[in-house]
């Protein structure tokens, strides 16, 4: 199991220290934590320390947070409103996200954009598949990770969760960047059925040979080691 650091605003200095002490093997950067210039400098610093760099494009973040995120060049005039994001723009947007990560940040793997859902509806599924297909077409030289950002209602609904995993297995990507919004936004989850559903879904991804990176993980996520995460 590899540990990637995922720091908040003003905490980037800690990354270098923990990488030097070999406590972590890399970082997952995100647009919310700094300006593009700061992030590019930090990426270079991490690479010089021998750490891996990943970048979460945060397409799933609610609109209220968008001011800093929109400074990043891959948005380039696109509306951040995920609800009205045009299906046909998905491939074009995806390409810009990849170019930024690969050409500017020189990441070790590319995290594709992915909207957050707590419903798992057909429109969301079409976006997910479009991002994965566009990513595979545009990026053949770096590992690709599809973002799966889902809420507790999806995880708890067996049919929804099954069909989501069934489809995700067929995306032409090497792995997944998984973001789970816990029930009641609780830090530690006591709902056994929810935890079982997470383990069940991630086990299938691992058995299919897909890499899984769990975003914003806490100590409870260590139990996912049981299914090979």
């Amino acid at each position: 199991m590899k540990l990637f650091l995922q720091q908040g605003w003003g905490m980037l200095a800690l990354d270098a220290e923990l990488l030097e002490r070999r406590i972590a093997s890399g970082v997952v950067l995100s647009p919310r934590i700094s300006t593009p210039e700061q992030l590019e400098r930090h990426s270079s610093e991490i690479r010089n320390l021998g750490g891996s760099v990943l970048f979460d494009p945060q397409f799933y973040v609610p609109r209220t947070e968008h001011a800093r995120i929109l400074q990043f060049p891959y948005w380039d005039g696109l509306s951040f409103d995920s609800d009205t994001f045009d299906d046909h723009s998905a491939a074009d947007f995806c390409q810009r996200v990849i170019d930024y990560q690969r050409d500017v940040l020189d990441v070790d793997g590319v995290i594709l954009p992915g909207a957050y859902t707590n419903a798992g509806d057909e429109r969301w599924r079409i976006w997910q598949a479009s991002f994965a297909e566009a990513g595979a077409e545009h990026c053949t030289d770096k590992p690709l990770y599809s973002t799966i950002a889902i809420g507790p209602d999806v995880v708890r609904n067996r049919h929804l969760m099954d069909s989501l995993i069934d489809e995700a297995l067929n995306y032409p990507v090497g792995g997944f960047y998984v973001l789970l919004r816990p029930p009641n936004d609780s830090f530690l989850v006591a709902d056994e059925d929810y935890l079982y559903a997470v383990l069940d879904g991630l086990l299938s991804l691992r058995e299919a040979g897909k890499e899984v990176i769990l975003g914003y993980a806490n100590q409870q996520a260590l139990l996912l080691a049981a299914v090979g995460v």
Binding site: D162, E167, A208
Partner: protein, 285 residues
């Protein structure tokens, strides 16, 4: 209008082949046994596409069949367009197989011993490995399409509704069901969930076939079930463990996993399935 050419008209259109007899006829397709000076004894298939999509489907079937150079599939020698009775049709020269279908065997013997059930599973999963490497899902694995040819050769027939993954689908997105045979089609085919169709879809059908071989009845369409019942059973019914019919616990578990309703709970690949199948006591009898 149905396509019903007689032997003489076909022979006249195909100057390089002598036709012996008709082997099968259905819809817009006729199959003859013939002899070619170049290929020897062959199956001559004539397909009259009734729409642009049907023609594209037939063309894809030919492309897929040509790419599968392996003993688990019939060899496709040649394909061309010919005019029969004033109608342009697609003509395929295919290897003629001597033997019998698994369906005929099951009609005669009802069920097969564990060793033979596992042999069928091994051979067809080897065929599925080849399809997987070609990014093709067969989508119609059933005893009628499994042919037991000479010298123990097992052949998978009929790529008519096969799907090439990564290529635009030719079936209707709004159809209630995807193309399938009730009793063998996987739940994701029944629900027409195209993005969930994968090699696991064929693994499901293969395990249904193996269950039927060992138990003597299809778990979803057996015992007089109507096609509608078979579809509902496939979606909702968990078949009785094969152990009830005398299999080892290992084989029962392998087949139960292969028939899981949700594709992600089945074996991730034909190779993974084969590995587990080979660990069953029946594989070493």
């Amino acid at each position: 209008m149905p396509f019903e050419p007689d032997t003489a008209s076909v022979e006249q259109a195909l100057e390089d082949v002598t036709l012996y007899n008709e082997l099968a006829r259905g819809g817009q397709k006729v199959v003859f046994l013939g002899e070619s000076s170049k290929f020897g004894k062959i199956a001559v298939k004539l397909i009259k596409p009734d729409s642009g999509a049907a023609e594209l489907r037939a063309t894809r079937e030919i492309e897929v069949a040509k790419s599968l150079a392996d003993s688990h599939f019939p060899r496709l020698f040649e394909s061309k367009k010919v005019t029969v009775c004033g109608v342009e049709v697609i003509c395929i020269y295919e290897e003629f197989l001597e033997g019998t279908s698994l369906r005929s065997v099951l009609q005669e013997q009802v069920c097969l011993p564990g060793k033979e059930t596992v042999m069928i599973g091994r051979e067809i999963s080897a065929a599925l490995e080849i399809l997987e490497s070609s990014q093709v899902v067969h989508r119609d694995i059933k005893p009628e399409n499994i042919y037991l040819a000479e010298r123990g050769r097992v052949v998978l027939l009929d790529l008519g509704i096969a799907r090439q993954l990564g290529v635009a689908s030719l079936t209707d997105d709004n159809a209630i069901f995807g193309p399938l045979t009730p009793g063998y089609g996987a739940p994701e085919q029944i629900r027409n969930e195209k993005r969930a169709i994968s090699p696991r879809t064929d693994i499901f059908a293969l395990n249904v076939v193996m269950y039927e071989c060992f138990s003597g009845a299809n778990p979803f369409s057996g015992h007089g079930a109507t096609p509608r019942d078979a579809l509902m059973n496939t979606l909702n019914l968990s078949p009785e463990s094969l152990e009830t019919f005398g299999s080892s616990r290992e084989l029962a578990r392998v087949i139960a996993r292969g028939m899981e309703k949700s594709p992600h709970r089945r074996f991730p690949s034909p190779t993974a399935f084969l590995r587990q199948l080979n660990l069953c006591p029946e594989a070493n009898e």
